[in-house]
């Protein structure tokens, strides 16, 4: 386990796996991520006919289906000639990496490839590495280049960085902590560095950085989902954050989906706007509040940011 995950060769333009969230409710994430990548001179090549990765749900029903789903996407990336797949959703990173782990075993790989073939998809050789878009930006551009790209520093904004669970976890799949370019599994800090480079005050000791938002049970266990979402907001409040920046679309949606319940259970004061980190970076790189699609968020960061003088 300590050997880390072999990342293989890097691509100048890796494949990009958007996942359902970024094409759906998390559109703002996708749009602003593209803006940010563009400003930093990075590009990704979208996997066109991707399919849902199965997240954490499908594996509870069938191991093979739960591996075949992400494997198809990885196979598509490989047939695009890529060795690297970048995804922006923690759940996707988890599923893709988990599939990679599973197909390391030849028997499983054989079975999965048979399924892929039967379904008319290319087979997968197990050679694509998976990276989160945050790690990608951090590795390829880094805080220095981000700092250089900032046009409007986020001065005066205190941001709580929220990474969510599956960004680094489990390291067995993601290689966190043991693989070059991967974040620290217990104390991730890439987001802190990038946002700091954007001029924001980042709460680097934010205690809820990697706690679970309950998103896995966003609908199926409301008590847990609400309590966990609220606890992230509450920790942000305790730490004095203006807003919460996240890299996890599920986390973002889960918290925002429960705003009314959180308000009812814990009071208005707990609430904080929750934004994608790329939205903030985009803002810092010069986009307007509208361009960074802050109005998309139910927690209405647009109103807040305007009140702080961001146009």
């Amino acid at each position: 386990m300590s050997a880390g995950i072999s990342r293989g060769p890097t691509d100048s333009v890796p494949a990009y796996y958007p996942g359902c969230s970024l094409d759906g409710l998390g559109k703002a994430y996708e749009v602003t991520a593209q803006q940010v990548l563009h400003r930093l001179g990075l590009s990704l090549d979208r996997i066109v006919d991707y399919n849902c990765c199965g997240a954490t749900e499908v594996k509870n029903l069938s191991q093979d289906v739960s591996v075949a789903l992400p494997a198809r996407n990885l196979a598509l990336a490989r047939s695009m000639g890529r060795h690297q797949v970048v995804a922006a959703c923690n759940g996707c990173v988890y599923s893709l990496a988990r599939a990679n782990d599973a197909v390391r075993e030849p028997a499983t790989r054989g079975r999965i490839n048979a399924t892929l073939e039967e379904g008319g998809a290319p087979t997968y050789d197990g050679e694509a590495s998976v990276q989160h878009v945050l790690e990608f930006i951090h590795a390829r551009a880094g805080p220095e280049r981000v700092r250089a790209a900032v046009r409007r520093p986020l001065t005066g904004l205190t941001v709580a960085p929220y990474y969510g669970c599956l960004y680094t976890r489990p390291k067995r799949y993601t290689g966190a902590g043991t693989t070059p370019g991967a974040d620290d599994p217990e104390h991730p800090h890439f987001l802190d560095e990038l946002l700091e480079a954007c001029g924001a005050k980042v709460l680097t000791d934010f205690s809820a950085k990697t706690i679970c938002c309950g998103g896995g049970h966003a609908l199926s266990d409301l008590d847990v989902a609400v309590a966990f979402s609220a606890s992230i907001l509450n920790e942000a409040r305790r730490a004095g954050a203006d807003l919460v920046a996240t890299i996890c679309p599920l986390g973002q949606i889960n918290i925002e989906n429960h705003l009314d319940r959180i308000r009812a259970a814990y009071g208005e004061e707990v609430l904080r706007p929750v934004v994608y980190f790329t939205q903030l970076m985009s803002l810092a790189f010069g986009a307007s509040v509208a361009e960074a699609r802050f109005r998309d968020n139910f927690s209405r960061p647009d109103l807040f940011l305007r009140s702080r003088g961001f146009a």
Partner: protein
């Protein structure tokens, strides 16, 4: 007679009973139920080990690292949710005790902190879900909300290859017998529509060439479930029955 240690016992009693002309209803005839654990059933762990999601269960040595970090156990304070304990019960084969947690075990939020930290490489989260499946398959226990969600989710994605979130939301809420107030629904719908995010039903994304792949997976899914259940009855089951 009062049972002072009410929370410490379970009882057998007849509410109405007369023996030899003496009314001995209720407390007078109450017997306490033994707490002694008498069964050990290796079939539970054998089955779990046979599942790809559960094959790491036997590595567990009960250190408790998983439970120590478990957000449900520690943060949420759901002390009966104890992954280490679930694994132990399955490992040793305390079926009856394990079954008591059928209504708790599905609440795992899949945050994977346990998997992350386990010093022996037990994929705790997956093992826990496999134990959950075992209980579901053998106990005839009612499907948990989490199971329903897993199914709704899988169904949804298998339709087009990508998720139709709004439809999933509607389907699942219907399954749970919940309806969102019309006003709220409209408000949300409007906001999504305005931002170009309301792409549901015919407007939803679709993966090209999905029909064939989706069908294969659907078959695979059915086959897999059939196999899992079959392997369970081949292992002799454990007195439970398939729902």
């Amino acid at each position: 007679m009062p049972i002072v240690e009410k929370s410490l016992v379970t009882v057998d009693r007849s509410e109405r009973l007369e023996i030899e002309g003496i009314d001995v209803s209720g407390d007078w005839n109450t017997f306490l139920r033994s707490r002694v654990q008498t069964d050990l059933d290796v079939r539970i762990v054998d089955w779990i080990r046979s599942q790809p999601q559960g094959d790491t269960i036997s590595r567990c040595w009960q250190c408790g690292t998983c439970t120590a970090g478990c957000c449900l156990h520690t943060d949420y304070g759901l002390s009966e949710f104890n992954p280490r304990y679930f694994i132990y019960l399955a490992q040793v084969g305390y079926e009856e005790e394990l079954r008591k947690y059928a209504t708790t075990i599905w609440r795992c939020v899949s945050c994977n902190k346990c998997v992350e930290r386990c010093p022996k490489g037990v994929k705790v989260e997956e093992v826990i879900h496999t134990i959950g499946s075992y209980l579901e398959f053998t106990g005839g226990a009612p499907e948990s909300p989490a199971d329903r969600f897993d199914r709704a989710y899988t169904e949804n994605l298998l339709r087009r290859g990508v998720l139709d979130e709004a439809s999933l939301f509607r389907t699942y809420e219907r399954m749970e017998g919940r309806t969102m107030p019309a006003g709220e629904m409209l408000k949300m719908g409007f906001q999504l529509f305005r931002s170009g995010r309301l792409r549901t039903g015919p407007l939803a994304h679709r993966t090209r060439g999905w029909r064939r792949f989706g069908n294969v997976l659907r078959e695979k899914l059915k086959e897999d479930e059939r196999c899992r259940r079959a392997s369970l009855s081949a292992a002799g089951g454990t007195g439970g029955h398939s729902p």
